[in-house]
Symmetry: C4
Subunit: 278 residues, 4 copies
Amino acid sequence: MANLKGHILPGSFFILFGLWWSVKYSIKHISRTSKKNGHVQWNFKQVEVIEGAVKVGFTLIGILAEQFVPDGPHLYLYSGQPRSWVKLMNWQHSTMYLFFLISGAADIVTYSSTLMPVGLDRFMLGIALFVEGFLFQYHTSHRPMLDQHIHSMLLMAIFAGVASSFVQVFVHDNLILDLFAVSLALLQGTWFWQIGFVLYPPWGGPEWDLNDHSNTMFITMCFCWHYALAILITAMNYFLVHCYFKNYKRSNRQIGIGLSLRKQKNAHDPLLNESDEE
Amino acid sequence: MANLKGHILPGSFFILFGLWWSVKYSIKHISRTSKKNGHVQWNFKQVEVIEGAVKVGFTLIGILAEQFVPDGPHLYLYSGQPRSWVKLMNWQHSTMYLFFLISGAADIVTYSSTLMPVGLDRFMLGIALFVEGFLFQYHTSHRPMLDQHIHSMLLMAIFAGVASSFVQVFVHDNLILDLFAVSLALLQGTWFWQIGFVLYPPWGGPEWDLNDHSNTMFITMCFCWHYALAILITAMNYFLVHCYFKNYKRSNRQIGIGLSLRKQKNAHDPLLNESDEE
Amino acid sequence: MANLKGHILPGSFFILFGLWWSVKYSIKHISRTSKKNGHVQWNFKQVEVIEGAVKVGFTLIGILAEQFVPDGPHLYLYSGQPRSWVKLMNWQHSTMYLFFLISGAADIVTYSSTLMPVGLDRFMLGIALFVEGFLFQYHTSHRPMLDQHIHSMLLMAIFAGVASSFVQVFVHDNLILDLFAVSLALLQGTWFWQIGFVLYPPWGGPEWDLNDHSNTMFITMCFCWHYALAILITAMNYFLVHCYFKNYKRSNRQIGIGLSLRKQKNAHDPLLNESDEE
Amino acid sequence: MANLKGHILPGSFFILFGLWWSVKYSIKHISRTSKKNGHVQWNFKQVEVIEGAVKVGFTLIGILAEQFVPDGPHLYLYSGQPRSWVKLMNWQHSTMYLFFLISGAADIVTYSSTLMPVGLDRFMLGIALFVEGFLFQYHTSHRPMLDQHIHSMLLMAIFAGVASSFVQVFVHDNLILDLFAVSLALLQGTWFWQIGFVLYPPWGGPEWDLNDHSNTMFITMCFCWHYALAILITAMNYFLVHCYFKNYKRSNRQIGIGLSLRKQKNAHDPLLNESDEE
């Protein structure tokens, strides 16, 4: 997928998940704080299971697409005489999707049963991000300076995500850590877009000189701007959710956020069991 | 042991221990969870001591084999005029075995007395894995690209094991951490096999081109597949143990797992003391 | 700002903040210890908000100065035919200031409302320091040996600051950690001065031979001396604050430190709420 | 001090301190465990203060010796026309001693007053070890392969010591961590000896070929043997102290270990205050 679309697509997924997580974690934290003050509770277990199912669905489509596009490997791993590998790039992308699929499955298992403790979902997300970064690392050797540089920034966003996920395995419900993970997902998403626009400029724009030192300097700085933007979006969403809840509390009327956010009614609520386990 | 057998053998040991640990940690966790619900308890101290003794036995055999095979060093470190080192490879393998022997001894000391706190066994396993990785690191310089690359993957599995062991010194009884360590043992085992099959293809198969870039790319991806397999095996074993215990609870009859898993009968049981200490 | 003034200025800011923090954390810790013994309490919330506002003010001035000095970019990012980047150095400095501005804003939000938990201020300071170090890292490639070496020492001070800030997100009110952060701020400040005096010797002194190995060796050692000095200053300030409070306790009279340190009067004091949250 | 004596001397100091610490931490842990069972307590505060004073004394002698030996710098930093640095090697060693002196002073402050919390002593030891490693790192570039390699092993022992010291700042009274620090001190000591004997073989022995690959392989393995030895010595000392206390408890008679180990008599004992603070 060495083209603009091949960078826009994964970038959009990360941005979408980043936006959704910024809302989810904000609601989680605010409803947790309200709990102390004796207010309503939300049930997130079903939401998490649905999120896991969506991840499984998307990645399954991704794997099938990578395998069965016209110029895909069609599940052949090697062929020819002398034998050579078939479309390793597509196989690598399939492998990345596979681990995000496992991560989605872990979400479902963690939140739909008491089989595994909370934290497994974060651990598997960390593993999936690690595999993504690990495979990218051997992607860009022997390419021009700027190409390597711009991908090394991506690796930083990915491995920072790995680190934050692994810390989350042990530290639950830390708002700062959760919002950090959110901002890294947004950063990774917008940076995928940036890579696409730099390496495959659309609208017939002028090509970037991939060996110019000042371009490298600009890209380094640009990465910081992307992160400032990611922080801004995360902060905005948190603030909007906060205001919404404040208004809701004042008017004290029921809301229907849709999905399966329901008021907590009794002591057998799974969320309570969850908190007991922690 | 630069041949197929020399990679199959250590690989098999790691796979065996990985499988055994996946069962052990699953039983441990499930019996711990049952405890809260007022069910039976298992005594793992004797099992751990036996495990330590088995490790000491295996490694002792390993050291003796490395020293006294026909082309071994027979405990000579240097000889000849001018003096030169005798069979450094065998000495290095003996050294690795020595540290796993110390790890086994630490298991015995930790679980057969109250001399040392729990955690020493994990610490010494971490040291043993570190020494293994440390000695491997200087093994493969000046070799072809693919040979170095495939061994660097092994180092990743080893040092991830070191990290998880050191965290386990401080964090006891964390299921995710324990199963992570299990999956890394399985990964190391199957990857030893993979190295053997790549570098010394059996059945007169075609040799791998050790300087082909696409081979390197495939091996990188293959390492991820091995880890997906390790996760699958760990999850399967955990699930099987879970089902077994569920059935057992339902029928409420005594089971004899063999070994020395015995019902916990009184408050003076060492396992209780152990949990008190933590 | 590749001149003496361009290194003296940021250095002075870090020294100023380091000195201020050494006083602030000393008072915080000593009043915390006194609390146990049933003595007076100080309210630091307003002080922290003022500190944040000062940071926002300074960095805003910094950004404007970098943009609108006579040879600055005046907010133009690229120009000319063929297009080229305008004054990337100034843009990079503006970016650094921007993140310290965000850090100042985070201070204000953290301490003036209950919107975000304590720790956000340290986290954002860590991010700001990381961005500073990240941009510096690509600053000095292709320069003479000593220039690179002296900047790599600066990076060590910066990244040690990043690490200590991130640990502070999880570990609050640890005196050793707080004073470590203080000493790193002082180190960074005095080292900025050292860089200035080495690369742009004032008073027409002899130039340093930037490729002489013994100069590199001296600079390495000199960095350690700077840190010894930073430890000394931190220890001195802590000791002076300690003595001041001891005298104060003995005479048992009210003091007016100025700023907004006020005696804690009632249970609704925000500082109490803060400690409850932790 | 590029001779045999210059490596034997610091090595001996680390071995001495390692042996002493192995006894100190063993007594500390065993008396802590006995406390729970209602037995005697020892007062370690005075011992720690004396240890700090000894460190200050030794390092002061070290600094003076490095400065005022016949071919030392006699406190001159630069001289000559054109100006050049005077005896940088001696200045570097003085700097290392200076930080161990600060560490000794921190020991005294930590244990003789309540000014600073426990943990400062470990933190400053970590800083001192870091400075030692930091200065060594730029010591051996441009030297033969084996010389660099054997010093890089030393750096591993030093930086592992830094890491364990920094963890000890947060984790007090963890026996495994304490004994790990002990074993690293012993390792550093014996490895200093090994470096001396390899680079400056005494008794007119044959010189080592510093560019022979098999020598490098042997030294790597030899480092592991040194660590096995360090583990053995640590375990032996712990076991001997354990046996001594067991006998003591059985006979229930007073012992006079000398130094200032005294029975804890009353609630105002500083050791109690210390445990309260933690």
